[in-house]
């Protein structure tokens, strides 16, 4: 009965693995417990789970064991304002498709991940911010003759499948040929390989790629945004108090220099001056 014994060992091993995996998960999704509601209640416990992108240079990027980027710095500012030390933050990778479910299900407390505020999303989550106004733009090779979305006719444009930028190209610029991938890094690789003529998404994301060492001097952002994408900080739909608190923290950050520092330490390195955080545009959290 050697097989039986082997199976038993295997089973035991798996259970151990499962428990380990499960434990790791629980630590991550342990939000929603505790008496106080919303992120303020969660922050009172000294811990906060923040969802960020992991593959977006300059905004949210896993570099080694840490996360870096503008979104990450904004996340730190919010955590600090809520009284959570940096050691109390747990970073969690989110992708565009799972931001709403993560917030709704309480797997993250807040999301700072190139998250455009729009009416559709407002139905399911509450947004603090915007902390930045991005706009859809084009990333093209330095020598390209493309000067804006109008000159895209007959050109190959790359974006992420099902994303808002891809949809806009399909509906507003029908003469452009659309190539879709599941990540922007693949689009940028295709651009570097000369397989597409332009990559389109928010200017700030494109600037992050253009500033990468790997692509230094090869690409430029066209610089004619053709949409307005206010980036917000997502929290649970019913957490209006938490949302208001985030806006207060952002108001302080706009004046005390921490917002500018967040920019200068990340995207500002490419030489772009820090934008103004326009506090008059902050959401009303309803």
């Amino acid at each position: 009965m050697r097989i039986t014994r082997l199976a038993a060992t295997l089973g035991a091993l798996t259970m151990a693995l499962a428990v380990a995996a499960c434990g790791g998960d629980d630590a991550g999704s342990g939000s929603g417990s505790g008496g106080a509601k919303g992120i303020e209640g969660k922050a009172a416990g000294g811990k906060l789970v923040i969802g960020v992108k992991a593959d977006q240079p300059g905004l949210g990027l896993q570099s080694g064991s840490a996360y870096t980027g503008f979104d990450v710095e904004i996340g730190k500012i919010i955590a600090k304002g809520l009284g959570v030390p940096e050691s109390g933050i747990e970073w969690k990778t989110t992708v565009s498709a799972n931001r709403e479910p993560y917030i709704q299900q309480g797997q993250v407390d807040l999301v700072v991940a190139t998250y455009t505020i729009n009416d559709e999303r407002k139905k399911v989550v509450n947004f603090g911010g915007p902390y930045f106004i991005a706009g859809q733009d084009l990333l093209v090779p330095t020598a390209s003759t493309i000067t804006g979305p109008e000159s895209l006719a007959g050109k190959r444009v790359c974006s992420v499948s099902g994303s808002t930028p891809a949809k806009r190209i399909q509906s507003d610029y029908k003469d452009a040929k659309l190539q879709q991938f599941d990540t922007y890094s693949k689009c940028v690789t295709a651009l570097a390989g000369g397989n597409v003529d332009a990559v389109t998404t928010d200017d700030i994301i494109l600037a992050g790629y253009a500033a990468q060492d790997q692509y230094a001097g090869k690409f430029k952002v066209v610089g004619k945004p053709f949409s307005e994408e206010p980036y917000g900080i997502g929290v649970k739909k019913d957490d209006a108090a938490g949302c208001n608190k985030i806006n207060e923290i952002l108001k302080t950050a706009a004046t005390d220099g921490s917002y500018k520092k967040a920019w200068d330490d990340t995207l500002g390195k490419s030489g772009k001056a820090a934008p103004e955080l326009d506090v008059s545009k902050l959401t009303n959290c309803s």
Binding site: F181, A190, G193
Partner: protein
């Protein structure tokens, strides 16, 4: 089911499954031809051919299809400059067909090789005794008999191929899985009906196909 009463959404659904159908048919033909050639290589007298066949099977059978499709775009097309047509969708379709074919051929090859093993040794010995060459023995005597024995496994491979063709969506083809993602993104309130319609379409087509192959395999089985 309100989602599907909108003709635009119905178009997304139909286009998605049309791509799946085309990918399955083209990929199936490619995989079958390639798989038979590979199987012949693996049982051939020439060591270098055998080695090539073995290497092919071990490499492609053990790599996730997601990666193979990825290599078709970024390796074959982007780096090696292999391109079929200028149209983006159509070119991606053919790149997907190539990826599905080389991947599935590894499984077809193994199925046929084990089918060859079901043909009694005496058959091949008799063929050789009357002076047939390797190619003749294989194509006239062994493969026709092996072919009947592998109908059932080939059926399963075809079904797997059909489901696998959803993975071509990762290089941008709007096949059924991307179509489903699109519809769910736009109709968050109808996640379950959308899933049931997409999954149901696969089930309604593939379950009878599976039984059909089983029936065919029984009918054509070589009685010994």
């Amino acid at each position: 089911m309100d989602v599907f009463s909108d003709p635009l959404n119905r178009d997304v659904y139909i286009t998605g499954f049309l791509w799946i159908l085309k990918l399955t048919l083209a990929g199936g033909v490619g995989a079958l031809v390639l798989g038979v050639v590979l199987a012949a290589m693996r049982v051939s007298p020439v060591p270098v051919l055998r080695g090539f066949g073995t290497a092919w099977v071990n490499i492609f059978r053990n790599t996730p299809l997601t990666l193979i499709i990825f290599f078709c775009y970024f390796g074959l097309f982007s780096t090696l400059g292999f391109s079929v047509v200028d149209d983006i969708d159509l070119n991606n379709f053919w790149l997907g067909v190539i990826g599905l074919s080389v991947y599935t051929a590894a499984f077809v090859c193994e199925a046929i090789r084990s089918g060859i093993n079901t043909v009694p040794a005496g058959q091949a010995e008799a063929a050789r005794a009357i002076g047939m060459t390797f190619i003749q023995t294989l194509t006239i005597i062994v493969l026709p008999q092996a072919g009947r024995a592998v109908i059932a496994p080939l059926g399963s491979i075809l079904i797997a191929l059909c489901k696998n063709s959803t993975i071509v969506g990762t290089i941008g083809l709007m096949e059924s899985s991307n179509a489903m993602k699109d519809l769910i993104n736009a109709n968050g309130n109808a996640v379950i009906p959308i899933f049931l319609v997409f999954a149901g379409t696969f089930a309604i087509v593939l379950i009878p196909t599976g039984y059909g192959f089983g029936w065919l395999a029984n009918r054509l089985a070589v009685k010994r």
